[in-house]
């Protein structure tokens, strides 16, 4: 904890007690000449979902300035991928948003398929949709659990969420071989077909999931403490959300109808009937509720996909693993990942490794509005607001 001078620099100690001359617009100081306090929340703070630091300036309990500081988990993902073959970058995409490795795989595969003009067989498209929607389920269920954990509901909702996630991870394990680092999609399809009985097992999980969702909502959605902590907290306006290019559930919670599954219709999503839930207030409660509603829609997609999945090959026979050299060109593949628009931008110069490889991470871009959401709220609310934005530091820092 440090005292600050007017420029926001650290004061020279010695009990120099100065205050900010100018507060950001819309923020009123409630202290009567009280001193401002700069607190560094993180990078080891348990509420920050990883190694993330918030440089918070407080007036009493009120946040008057907040600077997100990240990069503690920087792993040079893009540069590694530019120096490795196209295939070798695939397992690294698992490690971006390590909750949703399958959607990361899909986004990268989509970009490379656009670049190389590969066709994905029917069955592989269905498997992709099934795994992506299962990923969405387990991401959202964990998010809701972590959000409650951030609010002080220690354990119970999170463990209920993890219990359901466990069943989905078991499905991933038996399909792809790993629970989190799946590395399942390949350019032009999927690596393996579903093992015998897998689709029935998936159907069982999907059929039992609504019971859990109902219980979870009974537990939380009407809970007065939770409502008091989240309603009206961290309101994101529509204009700000759009101008800051926020995507995903955070954007839809402010009522902007933008879902890439509908807008882009990538893969075979146009074939499925589902609705895009929209929020109204853009506060933390809406962001929570959007996730619950999205899970119900995901279940609808899963039921249709599991009903309609055809037999057939799972990979384009023209696709080759080794010596993959797409023609010179560029491509941008984007999908609706559970956290928002996940895009991969690739430039090929005709060699075995991409000339440029760029990730558009939804977590990082959604995080840019954090200060606007937190200003004027209490310190304790910054934790829930951060939790409701749903970041994973593996993706923010890359």
């Amino acid at each position: 904890m440090l005292t600050l001078d007017a420029d926001g620099k650290q004061g020279g100690g010695g009990g120099v007690d100065r205050r900010f001359e100018v507060l950001p617009a819309g923020v009123e100081s409630n202290g009567e000449g009280g001193s401002l306090l700069e607190i560094s929340m993180g990078p080891q703070h348990p509420s920050t979902h990883g190694v993330f630091r918030m440089d918070v300036v407080l007036d009493g309990e009120t946040v008057v300035r907040l600077k997100p500081v990240f990069g503690y988990l920087h792993r040079n993902h893009e540069k590694i991928a530019e120096n490795a073959s196209y295939l070798a970058a695939m397992p690294y995409t698992d490690r971006l948003d390590y909750f949703c490795s399958l959607t990361n795989n899909w986004a990268y595969a989509l970009a490379v398929e656009k670049l190389a003009g590969l066709q994905v067989p029917e069955r592989a498209e269905f498997l992709r949709v099934i795994t992506a929607e299962l990923t969405r389920l387990q991401n959202h269920v964990c998010l809701a659990g972590f959000l409650m954990q951030d609010m002080g509901a220690s354990g119970t909702p999170l463990m209920y969420g993890f219990r359901e996630r466990e069943k989905i991870l078991d499905l991933f394990e038996s399909l792809t071989g790993a629970r989190m680092m799946c590395n399942y999609m390949r350019f032009g399809g999927c690596r393996t077909d579903a093992p015998p009985g897998w689709l029935e097992e998936a159907r069982g999980v999907v059929d039992r999931f609504p019971r859990f969702l109902d219980e979870f909502e009974n537990l939380l959605s009407g809970n007065e403490i939770m409502m008091a902590r989240t309603q009206g907290v961290g309101v994101l306006t529509r204009e700000l959300a759009v101008s800051a290019s926020v995507t995903g559930p955070v954007l839809r919670a402010c009522g902007v109808d933008y879902d890439l599954r509908k807008v882009d219709g990538y893969g075979i999503y146009p074939r499925f009937h589902f609705r895009v839930p929209l929020g109204d207030h853009g506060d933390t409660y809406d962001r929570y509720m959007i996730r619950i509603l999205e899970m119900r829609e995901s279940l609808a997609i899963l039921r249709q996909a599991l009903d309609q999945i055809p037999e057939g090959p799972v990979i384009d026979p023209k696709a080759k693993l080794r010596g993959f050299r797409p023609k010179p060109g560029e491509a941008y593949g984007r999908i609706e990942a559970p956290k928002g628009e996940l895009g991969f931008y690739l430039i090929s110069d005709g060699t075995a490794n991409p000339y440029r490889y760029r990730v558009r991470p939804p977590s990082l871009i959604n995080l840019t509005v954090l200060e606007d959401l937190c200003l004027g709220h209490n310190v304790a609310d910054t934790v829930t607001i951060l939790g409701s934005i749903d970041i994973v530091l593996g993706e923010v820092d890359r």
């Binding site: 038996s174 680092m181 590395n183 537990l219 007065e224 939770m226 080794r322």
Partner: protein, 249 residues
């Protein structure tokens, strides 16, 4: 009324608590070291090298082509090709890895080495209890530690192993048939060309139809003591030679 939501929530926790005693769906965890969940067939941990038969030194499928070394994303494989060759399952002479190291502290279990291997020589193991106090040496696995028999592969991945075994058996049958046909053709041609040198052609035919998997004579003999030992036997499997007292130090 204020508090109804909380009471409803408490009822839910109560239902889950009591339900966890009866409903498998509400309690998915097991007491790990004593109880174990059966492993899924597709589950993968770290790679191992498959060898046919009992002796890893003879049956190793790897031909040291170094494709996996090149394709490995974190570059955790190190291979040195042998100077001499040994016959593979089709009887073709092939190189074998003199050194094959995998640093499993670097390996990220992505399975790309398995996918790119054209010889079905490297596969994913399911052994996950690998903690060791030796951080560097204990996690750098050499050829002898990596080699596992095909029976192990058949046990952990039955579906995949069955498919590969049939394919290899087919290849082998075809190769044998071809070798036989070649030998017969050769023998016929030789017989037609020179009927007088019948003895020589028989030996040629025998040579060509030599049973697959047979090893050529060892090219390098390090010393008189190991001349009796199995050629190429691993360090741990050098048998004591009882007929030659004093030969083993």
């Amino acid at each position: 009324m204020l508090g109804v939501g909380i009471i409803k929530g408490l009822a839910e926790t109560g239902r889950n608590f009591i339900g966890s005693y009866f409903d498998r769906d509400r309690l998915v965890t097991v007491e790990y070291p004593e109880q174990r969940v059966p492993l899924r067939e597709n589950f993968r941990q770290f790679p191992f090298l498959v060898h046919d038969g009992q002796d890893a030194a003879i049956g190793l499928r790897c031909v040291a082509c170094q494709i996996c070394e090149k394709e490995c994303p974190p570059q955790c494989i190190y291979i040195e090709k042998s100077k001499d060759k040994k016959p593979d399952h089709l009887g073709k002479p092939q190189f074998f890895p003199a050194v094959f190291n995998i640093d499993i502290s670097v390996c990220m279990s992505c399975q790309i080495c398995v996918e790119v291997c054209p010889f079905d020589a490297i596969k994913m193991d399911q052994d996950f209890e690998l903690s060791t106090a030796d951080r560097f040496g204990g996690l750098l696995l050499g050829k002898t530690q990596l080699a596992r028999p095909n029976t192990h592969f058949q046990r952990i991945h039955p579906r995949e192993a069955a498919e590969i075994d049939t394919r290899r058996a087919d290849e082998r049958q075809k190769a044998e048939a071809k070798a036989k046909a070649d030998a017969e053709a050769k023998a016929k041609a030789a017989a037609a060309a020179a009927a007088g040198t019948a003895a020589a052609t028989t030996t040629a035919a025998v040579d060509a139809a030599k049973p697959v998997g047979a090893r050529p004579a060892p090219t390098t003999v390090p010393g008189p003591a190991s001349a009796r030992a199995l050629p190429g036997a691993g360090a741990g499997t050098v048998p004591a030679a009882p007929s030659e007292p004093g030969g083993q130090v």
